[in-house]
Symmetry: C2
Subunit: 347 residues, 2 copies
C-alpha cells in the first residue's frame, strides 16, 4: 500500500515539520545572521550534493535578491582531489546536507574554518561531522528520513534558507509571509489529486523540467525525484539556458514540465511555454495563475497567494506527489530506488 511507505508518510509530515522549524530554528538563524552582519560578509560559498545542492540553488537566488550577497556553489574537487582550495577568507561557508556525512562537503567546511571563514551547517543530524565543522548549526529537526528520496528535509532546508534571508533583511513583512507556508503545504496535500494524471505519463522515458529564478531549484529537484523514483530521464533547465541549444531536442509530443508560479519571472516563462507549444511539445504547467494553467496540455494547480520568493517551498510538493504516484503505477518501490543508499559518501 502506497500510504504505508516511508515516502508517503514523509511527504505528509512536511506541514508539521515546517511549522516547528519556523519557531525552533529561529535562535540559530538569528545568531548566524548577526554574525554575517557583524563581519560585513558579502560572499557565500555553499557546499552541497544532490537534493541539498538544489536547496543551495535556491539560496543563490534568494540571498542575492534579498540581501545582495554573491553566492557561489562550491567545487569540492578543488578541496578534496586537487588540494588547491580557493581563498575563502571573509566569506560565509555554508554546508547543506541531510546526513552531514559526505566527506567532500565536510572538507569544504573544514577548509573554510582553517582559513578563518565563518562556517555554518544546515543539517538534519546535529551530531554529524559537518556540524562539527560549523560555527552555527541550523538543526532541521525533521525526524529520521527513511525514504532514500529526500522530501521533508528538502522543504525544511528551503525554509531554513528563507528564514536566514528574511532575518538578514530585517524586513518583518518577509518573516510574516513565511508563517503562511505550513498551511499552504497542508492545503496542497489535501487538495492535489494526481493519481489520474500520472497514467498519461506511464510510458514517458525522457522529459525536461523548466524553471527560472527562485524556481530554478524546483526544476532541479523535480527532475531529481523523477530520476530517483521513476527512472525517467528528466533533465532540468532554466528557460533561458534551454533556448541556447537544447531546444533542438523538442519534437512533436516532447514532454516539458514547467514551474510557473506568479511573479517577476512569469511573463518570461509564459513566452517560453508559447515557444514550446508552437513546436507541438506536451507542456505540463505547475502554476497558481489560471491563464497560465490553461496554456498547458496538463495543468497542476499551486496554492494562490504565495509570494514568488517562497513559492519553491510549495511548488515542489505537487512534484513530490507526481513522482511518487508515477513510481507506484510503474510498480517501483518508492522507498528503495535501485542502486541507491540513503547516505552517499563522495570525495
Amino acid at each position: 500500500m502506497l500510504k504505508e511507505t516511508h515516502l508517503y508518510r514523509e511527504i505528509h509530515q512536511q506541514p508539521g515539520i515546517l511549522a516547528r522549524l519556523l519557531v525552533d530554528a529561529q535562535p540559530a538563524v538569528t545568531g548566524l545572521a548577526e554574525e554575517v552582519k557583524r563581519r560585513q560578509i558579502r560572499h557565500v560559498v555553499i557546499a552541497a550534493r544532490g537534493t541539498s545542492d538544489n536547496a543551495g540553488r535556491y539560496a543563490q537566488y534568494l540571498l542575492g535578491a534579498q540581501n545582495r550577497l554573491v553566492v557561489t556553489l562550491s567545487t569540492p574537487s578543488l578541496f578534496t582531489l586537487y588540494h588547491q582550495p580557493p581563498d575563502l577568507s571573509g566569506t560565509l561557508v555554508l554546508g547543506i546536507s541531510q546526513s552531514g556525512q559526505s566527506p567532500d562537503i565536510v572538507a569544504v567546511l573544514a577548509e573554510g574554518r582553517r582559513q578563518g571563514a565563518l562556517t555554518a551547517a544546515i543539517t538534519n543530524i546535529p551530531a554529524s561531522p559537518l556540524a562539527a565543522q560549523a560555527d552555527f548549526v541550523v538543526d532541521l529537526q525533521a525526524g529520521e528520513e527513511r525514504s532514500v528520496a529526500a522530501t521533508k528535509t528538502y522543504t525544511a532546508q528551503l525554509a531554513a534558507i528563507a528564514m536566514l534571508s528574511s532575518t538578514l533583511s530585517g524586513d518583518p513583512a518577509l518573516a510574516a509571509a513565511l508563517t503562511q507556508i505550513p498551511q499552504a503545504v497542508e492545503e496542497i496535500l489535501h487538495t492535489t489529486s494526481l493519481e489520474g494524471i500520472v497514467q498519461r505519463f506511464r510510458y514517458m522515458r525522457t522529459c525536461v523540467v523548466i524553471g527560472r529564478g527562485y524556481n530554478y531549484a524546483t526544476a532541479f529537484e523535480l527532475a531529481l525525484k523523477m530520476k530517483e523514483l521513476t527512472y525517467t530521464f528528466a533533465e532540468p533547465y532554466s528557460s533561458a539556458d534551454f533556448l541556447h541549444g537544447p531546444l533542438a531536442l523538442v519534437e512533436h509530443g516532447f514532454p516539458a514540465f514547467v514551474i510557473a508560479p506568479s511573479g517577476a519571472v512569469l511573463p518570461e516563462i509564459r513566452r517560453f511555454i508559447q515557444t514550446l507549444a508552437s513546436r507541438n511539445a506536451e507542456v505540463v504547467v505547475f502554476s497558481d495563475d489560471a491563464d497560465t494553467l490553461a496554456m498547458g496540455e496538463v495543468s497542476v494547480p499551486l496554492p494562490a497567494g504565495i509570494p514568488e520568493w517562497l513559492s519553491p517551498i510549495t511548488a515542489i510538493v505537487p512534484g513530490q506527489l507526481f513522482a511518487m504516484h508515477l513510481a507506484y503505477i510503474r510498480r517501483y518501490h518508492p522507498d528503495r530506488p535501485r542502486g541507491l543508499q540513503k547516505v552517499t559518501e563522495t570525495r
Copy 2:
C-alpha cells in the same frame, strides 16, 4: 558531403586559431591580469549561456586551483527579471559570449560597470554590445562561426581562460605548457577515427556524460553537442553528483561517456567507471591512459603528455568529432540543428 559542412571546416580550423590566439591575445590578457592584481580582486562573477557557460565552468575550476579565486557563475535573472542584482563591488565581472549579443549577459556586465567592478569580455565579436561594457576585451579572432553548434569558439574561449590563469599565476612553466596545445589538437584531428565507432550508437536515445574537476566543463560541452547535433538526450554530471541520486537510472546497457584524462581526478574517475561496470553499463572512455581506456566497452584515445589543467581543450575535440559523425549517419544536417539560430537572445 560532410567535409563541405561549416561544422567540419570549423572543427578543423581549431589548431590555427589556437596558435594565433596564444600570440595575439596576450596583450589584452596581460592588461586584464595586471588590473586584477592591482585591485587585489579575489572574486570573479561570470556571465555566459550555452557553450560559453561551459567555458565558464572551466574558469571556475582553473582560476580557483591556480589563483585561489572564488568564481561564481552568475544568475542573470537577478539582473534582468528581478532587478535585484547582488553587490559586485570589488569583483571581476567576466562575460563570455561568441556573439556578445545576448541581452541578459550584456546586462550583467553593464550592472558590474555601474557598480564600479572591473569588467572584461571574452568574445569573437569585439564590436558587440558585450564588448562595449567591458574594460578589457579578449578578441578570440576565430573568424565567423557559421555552424550553429559552436566548436572553434569554445576551444578558443578555453585557451583564453587558460592564458588568463597562467598570466595571473606568473608561472612561466604554465605558459610554456600552453604552447603545445595547437599541435596536440592537430594530432587529434589527424589520428582520431570515429566513423566506425559511431555506428554502434546510431539508435542511442539517452546517455550521460561524466567529468569532474577541470573536465566537468567537457562533460557539459559534449552533452550539449550531442543534444544540438544528434538530438540525443545527453545529460552531463560530475561523477560525485551522479552518485547522489541519478545512479538509479543505470540499467543493463546504459550508455555513459566518461572523460578520464590523467591527473588528480583520474583515480576517482576509475572507481566511478568500476561502479558503472558492475551495473553492466556501457561505458565509453575518453582517456590518454592505456589502463583506463581498457576499462571501457568503447575507448576514445586522447593525446599523451597534456597536463590535466589543459586537457579540456584537447578532450572536447574527439567529442566534437563524435557528435558530428553521429549526426551525419543519422542524416541530420550538422550545420542547421532544428529549431536553433546562431545567435540566441535571452533576457
